[in-house]
């Protein structure tokens, strides 16, 4: 009969009217993304060996980096790594090609920007990486220095263990010894300085220790006055 389909259609929409909504409320509830979802390309600077496989594998010239040859070693030193994200097609070729797994896609998709320049991301060489590298590159530059360092460390330990005994050599009054030991416990810098001086120059250490004590005394006096006022 004519018109049967119309009634059926109305019935279907009515059925859906009372069904539960399937909407995902994005800004309030983040979507559950598949594990292999490719969101934003991330780069780990530390792992990179600047081999250039990623740049060669990219079909769209998204990736580029700058290197510098250091004088001491044959290794190339990575200065900066640029991902110009506005050309990326999320093809994953760079990630597959990377021998050190320093590229990967994370799940961040909120990439909107107000200006086109913000899309491009430049990774600069982190400063702490240079320090570590230098430390690695020159293990023992000066043996004497390292020996001294070891002595200082030992002294510091001793100071922390038994301050009274060592400080008694420099300071005469027991009150001062107490003050300085308290000071050292609260401030590691003071302790380090005193330890270093004890190893290098004992007279100077005594002077400095006396100075610390007088300063601390003044401070305490002022604090008391301030409290009274």
């Amino acid at each position: 009969m004519n018109g049967q389909g119309l009634i059926k259609g109305l019935g279907i929409t009515l059925k859906h009217f009372f069904q539960k909504e399937i909407t995902e409320q994005y800004p309030d509830v983040m979507p559950e993304l598949a594990t292999r979802f490719r969101g934003c390309l991330q780069f780990e600077f530390e792992k990179c060996i600047a081999c250039g496989i990623c740049v060669n594998s990219c079909p769209n010239n998204v990736l580029s980096f700058e290197t510098e040859k250091s004088e001491n070693s044959k290794k190339k030193k990575l200065l900066s790594y640029t991902i110009d994200f506005q050309y990326c097609m999320f093809c994953n070729l760079c990630v597959e090609g990377c021998p050190k797994d320093c590229l990967h896609f994370d799940h961040d998709f909120e990439l909107s920007t107000f200006s086109r320049d913000d899309i491009k991301r430049v990774y600069l060489r982190p400063a702490e990486m240079d320090e570590e590298k230098e430390a690695d590159a020159a293990p023992v530059q000066d043996e004497q220095e390292s020996k001294e360092q070891k002595q200082i460390d030992a002294m510091l330990k001793a100071l922390q263990k038994n301050p009274q005994k060592i400080l008694a050599k420099m300071l005469e009054q027991e009150e001062d010894i107490g003050i300085l030991s308290e000071l050292m416990q609260s401030n590691e810098k003071t302790a380090g300085k005193i330890a270093e001086l004890l190893v290098k120059d004992k007279e100077k250490a005594a002077k400095v220790a006396a100075g610390f004590v007088t300063k601390e005394k003044k401070n305490r006096l002022q604090a008391e006055k301030g409290g009274e006022e």
Partner: protein, 169 residues
């Protein structure tokens, strides 16, 4: 109080805004209304528009933000969503549509093709990004852009509008 006209470069609106609170409050009200009601006009080629459609459909539901009134006419649209590469042949159409939209109007470049030309950036017939012909407010990189990412772009645009930045061309 006598109005000091030291700065000749101040125009009337700025002078009013300096001396009259009413103007700024209305401006805020308008910005509130505008920011909650982008009626989009969608341009696209193939893959990003699929996501635009998904954004309008049940699972993602653009309507939650009040942006669901998709107009087929530039005359009633506030937001031009460019979701695809602009070919030289399409360039005059986009320019015309943009000119036909009433002020205040905004543009979202959705997907890498619209942002920069994407994989076609060196093509002989494709423009390197829609911002080479019309000013773009929000860039959403992605290939294609997820519906959620489109929402994120629209919400960013909402923040921008609520701050009262809109372009008079």
């Amino acid at each position: 109080m006598v109005l000091e006209t030291k700065n000749d470069q101040l125009n009337d609106v700025e002078e009013l805004a300096g001396n009259n609170i009413l103007v700024t409050t209305f401006e805020k009200l308008w910005n509130w209304g505008r920011s909650w009601s982008f009626w989009p006009l969608n341009y696209g080629c193939n893959c990003c528009p699929i996501e635009v459609m998904a954004a309008g459909a049940g699972r993602f539901d653009q309507a939650r933000f009040g942006y669901e009134v998709v107009r087929a006419v530039p005359r009633q649209a506030d937001l031009l969503t460019v979701a695809g590469p602009i070919t030289l042949k399409m360039k005059p159409a986009i320019e015309r549509v943009w000119a036909q939209m009433p002020e205040p109007k905004w543009v979202i470049a959705m997907g890498n093709c619209a942002v920069s030309g994407g994989p076609f950036k060196d093509g002989y017939s494709v423009l390197p990004g829609v911002d080479s012909i019309i000013p773009v407010d929000v860039y959403i990189p992605g290939c294609p852009v997820r519906p959620e990412a489109l929402f994120h772009g629209m919400l960013e645009l909402k923040k921008k509008v609520q701050q009262g930045e809109y372009r008079r061309s």
